[in-house]
């Protein structure tokens, strides 16, 4: 069952995207309306979202089980940053072009700016704040410090999450595999080569 889900997520289709909306209280009746809705014609009144109601979701974030009410239009990124105050996940482009908002969803990297919070219902989320165990940093975090795998540090949480996701599935990647796994993350300071070094170093330290 879990295998099958994994496979499905690797080959992500438009159908998967639509199915994502289907979970929980928002049923088939709301779905077409939601998708057909032009955001530009929304006549929002504060406290009175006219088209579709808020929804209560449950998710595990960094090991903590949470219940919270979200609007269907809210992204996972905005919920993490604004509602849960987990500001380590960055909003850099807000449209899936840079990877700065990468988090792990059941262990897989996703751009949280493109992922609606309602879809995270029942899922397990790990953000940069949840990588260390107690005072002990994750080997990838430690290696980024040692190898100076950053400059301004703004893209770093996204890079670290993508790197952790890579090492979760490929414990001993070569340079080309590292480059490819990180090709969805942009570092404008341009420290890619130090980042590769950090990831390769971390890969040697995994248990």
């Amino acid at each position: 069952m879990e295998k099958a889900r994994e496979k499905q997520r690797k080959t992500f289709t438009r159908r998967d995207f639509l199915k994502g909306f289907g979970g929980g209280a928002i049923g088939a009746a709301v779905l077409p309306k939601l998708l057909a809705q032009e955001m530009t014609s929304l006549q929002t009144r504060k406290g009175n979202i006219p088209l579709y109601s808020r929804k209560e979701i449950a998710m595990t974030v960094n090991g903590k089980q949470l219940r919270l009410v979200v609007e269907p239009r809210e992204t996972l990124l905005d919920v993490l940053r604004e509602k849960l105050n987990l500001t380590g996940t960055k909003r850099t482009c807000n449209r899936g072009e840079c990877g700065g908002c990468t988090v792990l969803l059941d262990g897989f990297p996703v751009y949280s700016c493109l992922y609606l919070a309602i879809r995270a219902d029942g899922r397990n989320i790990t953000t940069i704040e949840g990588l260390a165990s107690g005072d002990k940093l994750h080997p990838v975090q430690q290696a980024f410090i040692e190898k100076d795998g950053y400059q301004c540090g703004f893209c770093t949480p996204g890079f670290i999450m993508s790197s952790v996701a890579l090492l979760n599935t490929n414990k001993n990647p070569n340079l080309e595999e590292v480059k490819e796994a990180l090709s969805g993350n942009l570092c404008r300071c341009g420290n890619y080569t130090k980042i590769y070094e950090a990831v390769l170093t971390a890969s040697t330290r995994r248990p």
Binding site: L42, T89, E97, D148, T156, K179
Partner: protein
């Protein structure tokens, strides 16, 4: 000084740090500068960043992350027209939307580019603020506009500033070029072109403003906290003493965050109106169109040269376009780096209805070096010389092409030697394009010159608390370069401690004054100031210990967290114990001094690139890269390497991909995002070897260190372009070198 006169010609208000250069250049040295000869234990080693743990665990606060109680979200309304008169504006609809707490018209009269700020509002959340923007009614009278330099230079083009669109910004000459052109063995003329490059910082520009009575606190994503404070004081007409600007961490600036921004003023005004804090974060689109870029250049170089490669005359003409602002003067590398007694420079800016350019990591030098170094490579080929030998032939030891004062230190010759050896320079095609097959390899190089000196008057404090803990405090900002870490290194080195023993406090205008982090000035300003303060602290403690030991102060050493009698090491006291016994708080104030005015202070470097060009698809791949820099004493090898790698990555990116594209009929930017404005990814970056000629400048400051922010960015695009020339035998002379341009160039070569 010549540089002062030269810079005077650059009318460029946004180049704040150049302004400061002008002021400081003539000041007398505050202390007699003498770079310390001693080798250090900590300084210069690879020291991991002291804030590393915070960054990798998402705990480092950026301006985007500031959350305050009751904080409102501000949004900016921008003109959709590249040129228009604002006839009327009605904010009542927006202001009456529930949740909207303030709305202000901030522009009257004429807007001059699409994206110019006209109004701003604040609401309880971002969605409400965005909805409210749609309810602002603005009536515009659209006016004729022009968005490209080519069109702006045409006869009868709409005038951007009610004056001619072309204006001279630089006029320089020495010697007699006409005479030398007549007598030269060879005269060569070539034209090079560079596109608009957008900074595309990771953290989009952002400010948070909060009033407490008459006092304003602003958290700003800025490279210049004091500049923002002073700008706000002027804009809001309140004393600077009532304003505090804070910047903890910042997600990239590259020159686009060097001054006060209009949205920061808007946030302050909205916060005042609403009686609540206001946060404004620009979107990626706004960041692409409203906060500057690197201006274009169209540079023509003509040189006279003797058969043996001796340069005798340079003439240089440049048309640069910085939108509604002035573009970059790009002549400096040509004026300065090679021995040439006869030079004539004319530069013009062309105005257009696009956002004003801003300094972009090494403004002018990136474009100027692409042209100059491309030209040197082509000239070498015409002469049948090794391009590196041509450069060495015209090596200078004095500034202004060997016609002015001597350089205080210049390690460019060593950069050449080390770099050529490391890349295997002998592997290059002796004749450009002599290889064959589908994939053609080539090697290219480029030289670098930049300033990178400190600002006299930069201040820092070292505080010793009664419990023996130590603070190093400076109102500078770490923009990702490692400022915090070298402050800790310098204080620790001087006081015999470890970097982790130093609590570094920066990024707040309540701390001792420091200038903007631009122009590669931060390290040579801040490090000497901290050193000065720490030396005073060390002297004070040595004096205390000397009394205890019954010896003179000069017999006391401070090392390994102890002070001891050099002649009898059994006599020692623990660093903290000594301070605890003293039972008081001690503050030592340090300053960055001046330097002798009869020397030129510059940073140097040489880059070597190897590329592979697919002559069927036109795709260029950089396969290897070596960079060697001379920036005086290297303060931290680890972060210095990162600076160099970053500069090269950006240079490769600009050489191959980056170009802002304007839609001529609508006057809008076509690619205001990170998908269509392509920047280099991990897949595009090869092995990079960063190396340093670690020489100590004897006069620059008490540590002999110079800046390294700009230098590695300067020759990178040029080195790649020259390697492409060596691979395919035709110089593309234009960046970005996209596949279509490569194929076009190859076609023209075939025809020729």
């Amino acid at each position: 000084m010549r540089k002062k006169e030269y810079l005077k010609n650059i009318e460029r208000s946004s180049l704040l740090y150049f302004e400061e250069f002008r002021d400081k250049e003539t000041q007398q040295p505050a202390v007699t500068p003498s770079a310390e000869k001693e080798r250090f234990k900590i300084i210069g080693n690879s020291v991991p960043r002291i804030e590393g743990e915070k960054i990798v665990s998402g705990q480092a606060p950026y301006t985007h992350d500031i959350q305050l109680r009751g904080m409102l979200y501000g949004k900016v309304l921008r003109s959709p027209h590249p040129c228009a008169e604002i006839v009327s504006m009605d904010l009542s609809g927006a202001a009456s939307l529930p949740g909207v707490k303030a709305a202000l018209q901030l522009k009257e009269g004429k807007v001059k580019y699409a994206g110019e700020l006209v109004a701003a509002l604040a609401a309880v959340d971002e969605n409400t603020a965005e909805e409210a923007l749609k309810l602002v009614k603005v009536e515009y009278k659209p006016l004729p506009f022009v968005v490209t330099p080519e069109k702006a230079m045409e006869e009868g083009a709409p005038q951007v500033h009610d004056q001619p669109n072309v204006r001279k910004i630089n006029d320089y000459s020495r010697g007699d070029i006409e005479k030398e052109f007549k007598e030269a063995d060879l005269v060569l003329e070539r034209t090079y072109k560079t596109a608009v490059e957008i900074h595309q910082v990771a953290e989009t520009h952002a400010s948070v403003a909060k009033w407490e009575g008459e006092n304003l606190t602003v958290w700003d994503s800025t490279q210049a906290i004091f500049g923002v404070r002073d700008g706000l004081a002027r804009a809001l007409n309140i004393p600077a003493s009532r304003i505090k600007v804070i910047k903890h961490h910042m997600g990239g600036g590259f020159g686009s965050k060097l001054g006060l921004n209009d949205y920061t003023v808007a946030a302050a005004k909205l916060a005042k109106d609403a009686g609540k804090p206001v946060k404004i974060i620009l979107s990626r689109k706004e960041n692409s169109i409203c906060v500057g870029n690197r201006p274009t250049s169209l540079q023509t170089i003509k040189a006279g040269v003797k058969k043996d490669g001796t340069l005798t005359a340079f003439s240089y003409k440049n048309y640069t376009c910085g939108g509604v602002g002035a573009g970059d003067s790009c002549a400096e590398p040509l004026v300065d780096v090679y021995k040439c007694p006869n030079v004539k420079v004319e530069e013009y800016t062309v105005f257009a209805n696009t956002v004003a350019s801003r300094p972009t990591r090494a403004p002018g030098h990136v474009q100027g070096t692409l042209a100059l170094e491309g030209f040197m490579e082509e000239l070498a080929n015409e002469l049948g010389m090794d391009p590196l030998e041509l450069r060495k032939k015209n090596y200078s030891l004095k500034s202004r092409g060997d016609t002015d004062i001597p350089y205080s230190s210049k390690g460019l010759d060593q950069c050449y030697q080390i770099g050529a050896e490391k890349i295997g320079w002998e592997r290059r095609n002796k004749k450009p394009g002599e290889g064959n097959g589908k994939l053609r390899r080539g090697l290219g190089m480029a030289s670098q010159i930049w300033w990178g000196l400190g600002r006299a008057g930069t201040q820092a404090d070292v505080r010793l608390h009664p419990d023996g803990s130590v603070e190093a405090i400076c109102g500078t900002q770490d923009i990702g370069t490692g400022t915090r870490t070298y402050i800790a290194e310098v204080a620790a080195e001087t006081l015999g401690l470890e970097p982790k023993d130093i609590m570094v406090k920066i990024g707040n205008t309540e701390y001792p004054w420091s200038g903007s982090s631009g122009g590669s000035t931060t390290t040579p300003s801040v490090a000497p100031a901290v050193r000065d303060a720490a030396l005073k602290a060390a002297d004070y403690l040595k004096n205390l210990a000397a009394k205890k030991f019954g010896v003179t102060t000069d017999q006391v050493d401070i090392e390994s967290k102890k002070l001891f009698n050099r002649n009898n090491t059994a006599q020692s006291i623990d660093f903290q114990a000594l301070i605890r016994e003293h039972r008081r708080e001690l503050v030592f104030h340090g300053e960055c001094g001046g330097r002798p005015a009869d020397y030129a202070y510059n940073t140097f470097g040489a880059h070597f690139a190897e590329v592979e060009v697919d002559v069927e698809t036109g795709k260029i791949k950089v396969v290897k890269y070596v960079a060697v820099h001379e920036s005086g004493r290297i303060m931290n090898k680890l972060t210095a390497e990162s600076q160099v790698i970053g500069g090269i990555t950006q240079g490769i990116s600009t050489a191959l991909f980056e170009e802002r594209v304007m839609d001529i009929p609508t006057g809008k930017v076509i690619n205001p995002n990170l998908r269509d404005y392509k920047i280099a990814t991990s897949m595009d970056i090869p092995e990079i070897i960063p190396l340093f000629v670690d020489m100590v400048d004897p006069r620059a400051n008490i540590l002999g260190t110079k800046g390294l922010g700009e230098p590695p960015r300067i020759p990178a695009s040029a080195a790649v372009a020259n390697a492409v020339y060596n691979a395919i035998g035709v110089h593309i002379r234009e960046i970005p070198m996209t596949p279509d341009k490569v194929l076009q160039a190859l076609k023209q070569k075939e025809v020729a």
